[in-house]
């Protein structure tokens, strides 16, 4: 089962470690081999359980929503120092992150 495969495997919730890795890649979480194997086993059970949602009828739900507007006024926020206080790395008043490409 991959995110593009809609075959029979998907319906019974079978998951193998490579598929867990694919999702982990999408979610930007590294996994070691042991984690990928354990999650694959557990995901099969959980997704099987979620499959019961197929029986749910479509229900009309139209909540009353009202747009609430406020004046767009400048207000005090965090200082630059406060905003940077918890960053693992900062430089010259900026957050310092890894290379983007």
């Amino acid at each position: 089962m991959t995110t593009t495969d809609e075959g029979d495997d998907a319906d019974v919730g079978g998951v193998d470690p490579d598929e867990v890795r694919h999702v982990a890649d999408l979610a930007r979480v590294d996994l070691d081999d042991e984690e990928a194997a354990t999650f694959a086993e557990q995901f099969a059970d959980v997704l099987d359980y979620f499959a019961a949602l197929d029986e749910v009828p479509e229900v009309a739900d139209e909540p009353d929503l009202v747009n609430v507007m406020r004046a767009d006024e400048v207000r005090d926020g965090l200082t630059q120092e406060e905003a940077l206080a918890n960053a693992p790395e900062s430089e010259a008043g900026f957050f310092k992150g890894p290379k983007v490409s």
Partner: protein
């Protein structure tokens, strides 16, 4: 053993710092413990996660600001399941909390530290957060009172988000009246949180459902003439010993003039699945902010994606990874309609069922938890078993309704909680019903 040692042994607090409140106010003289996912200016807030080790928020959550203004003294930040994900307070990166009633057992979760703080006498009051039962579950397991307010009654500003559409901050205390008094302080509109209820008035200022309420005064035990609906689906699944305590408590309510009626909630059979699909999906999006740049564990060298993934591998525990991954899966191309859309349909169905049941009764009553508190380690290896424990509490969050858990008695020497569910913004009704059980 001193009181401090006792709390250390139970692993109740992650940070034990005293923050004095105002000299005067409705909570003057009261001590209060705060769940560690609620931001406190200058005091470390970790959400029970290694990811936020040493994180010190530069501002107070709105509820913290309000309890300080009301005179409460904050005594510490309490242990919790990591980012609120768990039902036993065993997924904390800082070790499990023990249940003060029986230290071999779990205190429930995810606000287990907050419930244990109250049960152990370490604080008069506590704040927790309830996404699928995280205030009511530990209240039931520790033998204290917990309230999950209607969605929108209490500001979520400063609560580290797990599943926005479901979670509310709620009070824990030894008595219904004390919990209600804390709710009086924290309820109200907040311009920092657009999801707090805001009823625009045509002429004059906007109003909020808590403007004219006095929740503490409602805890008068006067239930004569009240109708209590009992949803059969949520009683049948509970252990026999739990059901016995629940039925005895119902009989006592009938002796006080309550009429009980059977109601049916056919949708609840799908509520747990819908809850976890929605909560995990929202979690996968919310927890994307933990990238090791603005806060969190730095990912070191390499490009953005590698660094990001490394930071999260190191910072997140198993349950958090499990939910982020399952949530990513449920939202991914090809599965959105199968899981997420169906879960939203189930949510609408649950709401509709509750509306119909609450047309026949003032409040609904169920056992809060279908089981007594399990021993530590019993449920951790089987995520599905853990999720099923939430069967009676999660439907309430899906429907955005208010609910209370009050101690109803004991089974095998362990506390059993009774839950009352009310109509939206009907906090008074659940508080009144709850106060009649504790008398």
């Amino acid at each position: 053993m001193s009181a401090d040692d006792a709390a250390d042994d139970l692993n109740v607090f992650l940070a034990r710092e005293t923050v004095e409140g105002a000299d005067d106010g409705p909570l003057a003289g009261k001590t209060l413990a705060v769940k560690d996912n609620i931001s406190t200016e200058g005091v470390a807030t970790t959400c029970g996660s290694a990811m936020l080790e040493g994180y010190v928020p530069p501002y107070d959550a709105t509820v913290v600001e309000r309890v300080r203004e009301a005179g409460a003294t904050i005594v510490g930040k309490t242990n919790m399941d990591e980012f609120g994900m768990g039902g036993t307070t065993e997924t904390s990166a800082y070790g499990p909390t023990k249940n003060p009633v029986d230290p071999e057992r779990v205190p429930g979760g995810s606000s287990g530290g907050s419930a244990a703080a109250v049960a152990a006498g370490e604080a008069d009051l506590a704040l927790g957060s309830d996404t699928g039962g995280s205030v009511r579950n530990p209240a039931a397991f520790c033998g204290v009172v917990g309230i999950k307010p209607t969605y929108g009654l209490v500001s979520r500003y400063g609560l580290v988000a797990y599943a926005n559409s479901l979670e509310q901050i709620g009070p824990l205390a030894n008595t219904v009246e004390d919990a209600a008094a804390l709710l009086d302080v924290i309820a109200g509109p907040d311009e920092h949180d657009a999801t707090t209820r805001y009823d625009a008035a045509e002429d004059g200022p906007a109003v909020h459902p808590a403007d004219e309420t006095d929740y503490a005064a409602t805890a008068d035990g006067d239930v004569d003439g009240m109708t209590v609906g009992v949803p059969t689906e949520l009683v049948e699944g509970a252990d026999d010993a739990v059901v016995k305590v629940f039925e005895d408590a119902l009989a006592e309510l009938e002796a006080k003039g309550v009429e009980t009626v059977e109601v049916s909630l056919p949708s609840v059979e799908h509520a747990v699945q819908a809850y976890y699909v929605i909560a995990m999906s929202e979690a996968s999006s919310n927890l994307a902010r933990f990238d090791g740049v603005r806060y969190g564990i730095g990912g070191g060298e390499g490009n953005w994606n590698e660094s990001f993934a490394r930071s999260r591998e190191e910072g997140f525990g198993d349950e958090v990874k499990r939910r982020v991954l399952l949530g990513t899966y449920a939202l991914s191309a090809g599965y959105h309609d199968k899981y997420y859309k169906k879960a939203q349909d189930a949510r609408a169905w649950v709401k509709q069922d509750f509306d119909e049941a609450l047309a026949e009764a003032d409040v609904l009553a169920t056992p809060t938890m279908p089981v007594v508190p399990p021993k530590r380690g019993e449920s951790l290896d089987d995520p599905l078993a853990l999720y099923l424990m939430d069967a009676n509490t999660v439907p309430v969050n899906l429907a955005n309704l208010p609910a209370i858990s009050v101690p109803a008695g004991e089974a095998d020497g362990l506390p059993v909680g009774m839950q009352f569910v009310g109509p939206a913004f009907g906090e008074e009704a659940v508080i009144r019903a709850g106060s009649a059980v504790e008398e």
